[in-house]
């Protein structure tokens, strides 16, 4: 028995043996389903019917790529991602600058700002929906206090988009803040001192000393948040449910609908794969910059 174990864990085998369970688990739970649905996307199949699948080739991919609805959803998603991420970067940076100093109760006050990240999507979605509600919502009441009219934020497309963007940015700006803060703090003191001795103005100090350190992390934040916001589902589903109409339906919500409401299983698979491709490209980018950052540091 002992010999068996020794054989199993001999030095040359050790690496693979240690990694194996993890890879197996990932394979079964992630890769295998991926391949399954990849395979599905080449067949006619509907989860709701009992008809066996028939081969379809690239039919669904073609369908999806030429479907104007899909492109519209992509546009909506891109718009929301752009707005939300931009907002996150700005707010995150501002918050980081505020927390850069060491002041009494810093730890506790920091917790206040970190809390939005800790709420579950359901909580955020539901309560922000309440905030936006025309009659009872806080936002509307504040608005009507000044203008005499209730605010029906979610009734228009732009209003709804802003509603989602604000909720999402509110939740994740602290994330950006953390990254920027790490960058700000990693700048060595002596660089600032050298800049002072060299009589550089405050602005020049920022551009020459601070920004290069922060730039890498900002980029990381940008990429990571873009990938995550691209997948946005819960918040949209809960606040606007894609409405009004379908004007705020992001691509993830659309896929969900196609899969679970229309039961067009193959079609949703094809679409999912295109999404996956985009995500992989973005992840590659993310990893590339992480590596670069690791080498710089």
């Amino acid at each position: 028995m002992r010999d068996f174990w020794q054989w199993m864990f001999s030095p040359s085998r050790r690496g693979p043996m240690l990694i194996a369970p993890a890879l197996i688990m990932l394979f079964v739970m992630n890769i295998f389903p991926l391949m399954w649905s990849f395979g599905l996307s080449f067949f006619h199949y509907k989860a709701s019917s009992i008809r066996p699948p028939t081969f379809a080739g690239l039919y669904y991919y073609e369908k999806v790529l030429t479907d104007p609805v899909v492109w519209e959803r992509m546009q909506t998603t891109a718009l929301i991602v752009a707005m939300s991420v931009l907002l996150q970067l700005v707010i995150g940076f501002a918050l980081a600058m505020m927390f850069e100093k060491k002041f009494p109760l810093r730890r506790e006050i920091l917790m206040l700002v970190l809390t939005p990240m800790m709420l579950s999507f359901v909580a955020v979605g539901v309560f922000f929906k309440l905030f936006y509600e025309p009659t009872f919502g806080l936002l509307s009441q504040a608005y009507s206090y000044f203008s005499g009219e209730p605010l029906t934020l979610l009734a228009t497309q732009w209003g709804a988009i802003w509603g989602i963007v604000i909720a999402d940015a509110w939740m994740w700006s602290p994330f950006v803040m953390l990254l920027v803060l790490a960058g700000l703090v990693s700048v060595p003191d002596y660089l600032y001192e050298a800049a002072e001795v060299d009589r550089a103005s405050k602005w020049k100090r920022f551009i020459t000393v601070t920004f290069p350190y922060v730039r890498g992390l900002l980029l990381l934040a940008l990429l990571f948040r873009t990938i995550e916001t691209f997948k946005i589902f819960d918040v949209v589903y809960l606040i606007t449910n894609g409405g009004p109409g379908t004007s705020t339906e992001t691509i993830a919500v659309y896929v969900y609908r196609v899969a679970f409401q229309f039961f067009k299983t193959s079609q949703s698979s094809a679409l999912s794969y295109i999404l996956l491709f985009i995500v992989i490209v973005l992840t590659n980018l993310y990893l590339y910059f992480v590596k670069k950052r690791g080498e710089e540091g």
């Binding site: 060595p188 002596y190 660089l191 001192e193 050298a194 800049a195 002072e196 001795v197 060299d198 009589r199 550089a200 020049k204 020459t208 000393v209 920004f211 290069p212 710089e296």
Partner: protein
């Protein structure tokens, strides 16, 4: 006139006394070395002269003017940092030109000065590189070049050679000394390496525990140390120290004999006793 005067300089960090009652006087063109073991207060003193630390007591005068309350950027000083502090996102040429922006010179003139200084320190080949791609010795030269490209009131060097290997140190010692001789500015160099101090300084101030033990020319520090600490610190190998019993005076010399019994008295006089006592 480029001078530095420090009177009764003191610095406290909380309860701890880092620098206590330091007096220094550096004339134009003179190189003063602050020499001492780690933690003796030499870097803190330098930083107070630069304005990077506030003073707890005492006065700092640069070019005759009191500067205690003035920010480093207003003191018109140039400093070479221990870690070089080169701006990582700027090329060597941009690094060198950086301090000149304050003087609002036309770009052409800045370029001129940069290439001149680069020539002096053999940096012409690396002008377009980023600091991250420089060898240690090159980085050091860029740091020095950045300091001398200006015309400041004085130069402050914080352990400039400590990160170089032995060979480079030898070369750089000579080079820096040569360059400093050419300009007539008051210079303070902080180091823990006595060889550096002995070769580069016009005068050495040996420090311990925040106080100055002795200020003198390298020759005098070496041949006429004021106390056991300085005597033991300077000289490789270390000076021979022998406990002795004082038996009498003879003009400018003293008589002593080796103790036959273990001495009950703490030994406070070094062997080369005649040169120390007869003053």
């Amino acid at each position: 006139m480029s001078t530095i005067q420090v009177t009764n300089l003191t610095k406290r960090f909380g309860d701890m006394l880092a620098v206590s009652g330091v007096d220094l006087d550096v004339a134009a063109g003179e190189v003063l070395c602050l020499l001492g073991p780690s933690g003796c207060g030499k870097t803190t003193t330098l930083r107070m002269i630069a304005g990077l630390e506030t003073t707890s007591d005492g006065e700092v005068r640069i070019a005759g003017k009191r500067v205690n309350e003035i920010a480093p950027s207003e003191r018109d000083i140039a400093m070479v940092f221990q870690f070089y502090a080169l701006y990582p996102s700027l090329t060597v040429a941009e690094n060198l030109g950086f301090p000149l922006h304050h003087e609002k010179l036309p770009q052409a003139e800045i370029d001129n000065l940069v290439s001149e200084v680069a020539r002096k320190l053999e940096l012409t080949d690396v002008l377009h590189r980023l600091p991250g791609y420089l060898a240690e010795g090159e980085k050091q030269r860029v740091a020095v070049a950045r300091a001398i490209i200006r015309d400041p009131n004085c130069f402050l060097f914080d352990e400039p050679l400590s990160r170089l290997d032995v060979e480079l140190r030898q070369t750089m010692r000579g080079q820096i000394k040569e360059i400093l001789d050419g300009l007539s500015k008051a210079t303070v160099i902080v180091t823990h390496d006595q060889l550096e101090a002995l070769t580069m300084a016009d005068r050495i101030a040996v420090m311990r525990d925040g106080k100055i033990e002795q200020i003198a020319s390298p020759h005098d520090i070496f041949t006429k140390p004021k106390n056991l600490f300085v005597a033991g610190f300077i000289g490789t190998p270390q000076m021979n120290l022998q406990e002795a019993v004082l038996t009498g005076f003879e003009g400018t010399r003293v008589r002593s004999r080796l103790p036959t019994k273990p001495s009950r008295w703490p030994s406070i006089l070094p062997f080369k006793i005649w040169t120390v006592v007869a003053r």
